[in-house]
Amino acid sequence: MEKTTDKNSYTLLFAIGMVLVVGSILAFAASGFKDKIDENKRIERQLNILYAMGVNENEGSNMSFVSKDIVESEFKKYITKQFIIQGEKISEDNKAYLLDLKKEHALAKNASHQRRLPMLIGEKDGKMFYIAPIRGKGLWDAIWGYVALDKNMVVLGAFFDHKGETPGLGANINQRFFMDDFIGEHLFDEANNFKGINVSKSNADPKNKDKKDNEVDAIAGATITGDGVSAMIKSELRLYLPYFKNLKN
């Protein structure tokens, strides 16, 4: 006799039941944890932004963010203004750092939409930091970062992170040995053309002493992630050129 579990009707019912049970468990879990996860993400953004402008607890070659308990107050203290730039229009918005760049990228595919660009102004020890959140593509998934610039668009600090780059290779873009190389790099070449910063495999300057070559040393075995970082810096920071031009005048 055919076993009950081999019957088509049983199989169908089992499948439906399983989908319902698993679906509700996952939906329940996702919505239950949503607030907590969003809050963690918000804090992470603040930590990363502060890290990019040099507000961190790095010691020697160790890498460390400021403590989570004080991040809110430190963020208020160091980030003095936040803007959203849309074409000519610049509007102040103290939630600009939360702007979802993924959605902006999607909206920008429509030619009639003018992309909104977040810009955060930080001040530390009398120095001004212009921090631009950027987002691009790595090898497997999204990569993003925060680049702190001075008003001549020289990099004062950078933080990069990724969603799913290869551990040990591309995933190392969020390590200090890679990010520290960007400090002091120029985005313009000698002739004052916008060049961005190229993550270069053929860089004959592994200690990165030449800050005006528009190049930093790449990570071995992570060519595509490195190219993604180069492309992200070039395409995203280019959009800020009018803003910095106005700033100088």
């Binding site: 579990t5 081999d6 049983y10 199989t11 089992f14 499948a15 399983m18 698993v22 468990i25 996952l26 879990a29 996702a30 944890f33 907590k36 996860i37 963690n40 992470e44 969603k163 799913g164 780059e165 290869t166 551990p167 040990g168 290779l169 995933a171 592994p206 200690k207 071995a220 075995g221």
Partner: protein, 222 residues
């Protein structure tokens, strides 16, 4: 072993050596090649698989009498995916830092052939307790190999272990680098992981002749 019967102990010990999922059954090779460039990543992946395989095996074993055989692979896939997603959500909410380290592995855990292999080959036909032991044993056997590969790849590829510069600084030329030693960048790429797996298999089989396949033994005689 007072705690475990002889049969139960074998469930844990066999996959560590003579029935190792990577070197003998050649399962889970994909992740063994992909994420072993660093020792830390190998350890994290081993612990994740240990958890998912241990718990997953028990769940599948509990459900073994009600799963329709026609859709059993899909059911297994759903169980492991659900498990991994829930763990990921909990970590994101309560251990955000850890979840960032692990998020890369989530997709790799779901597609790990060892997990599906153990569900299909063991948990579907055995009671929960032996299934649990089988899961733990296989995950440990997988982890041991991953950690061995990670150790050699990080040591010879980057000159570090768990991020510590054990061989000196390659740019400042200190430690062994002062004598002209160079890191082998090839170790960081997946093909070299395959060669390391090959060497482990070679050593294992040359120490234990029973593992050799019959025709190979025949050739050895000539």
């Amino acid at each position: 072993m007072g705690l475990l019967s002889k049969k139960d102990a074998r469930l844990i010990l066999d996959p560590l050596a003579d029935n190792n999922p990577i070197t003998i059954q050649v399962l889970g090779i994909c992740s063994a090649l992909a994420i072993t460039a660093e020792l830390e990543a190998s350890i994290v992946m081993s612990i994740s698989v240990l958890f998912v395989l241990g718990v997953g095996n028990v769940i599948i074993s509990l459900m073994r009498n009600i799963i329709p055989s026609k859709i059993r692979i899909i059911v297994q896939l759903i169980v492991v995916a659900t498990l991994v997603i829930i763990v990921d959500l909990v970590l994101k909410a309560y251990a955000y830092e850890l979840s960032k380290t692990l998020s890369v592995f989530v997709g790799l855990i779901i597609t790990n052939c060892i997990i599906m292999g153990r569900f299909e080959a063991f948990a579907l036909a055995n009671k929960p307790w032996p299934s649990f032991l089988d899961g733990i044993g296989n995950a440990l056997g997988y982890g041991v190999i991953l950690i061995i590969i990670g150790f050699f790849r990080e040591l010879f590829g980057s000159g570090t272990l768990l991020g510590f510069k054990v061989l000196g600084d390659p740019i400042e030329k200190t430690g062994v680098y002062a004598f002209g030693y160079e890191n082998n960048g090839f170790m960081l790429l997946s093909p070299m992981a395959l060669i390391v797996v090959g060497i482990i298999i070679w050593i294992q089989r040359s120490r234990n002749k029973e593992l050799l396949e019959e025709e190979l033994v025949g050739h050895c005689d000539i």
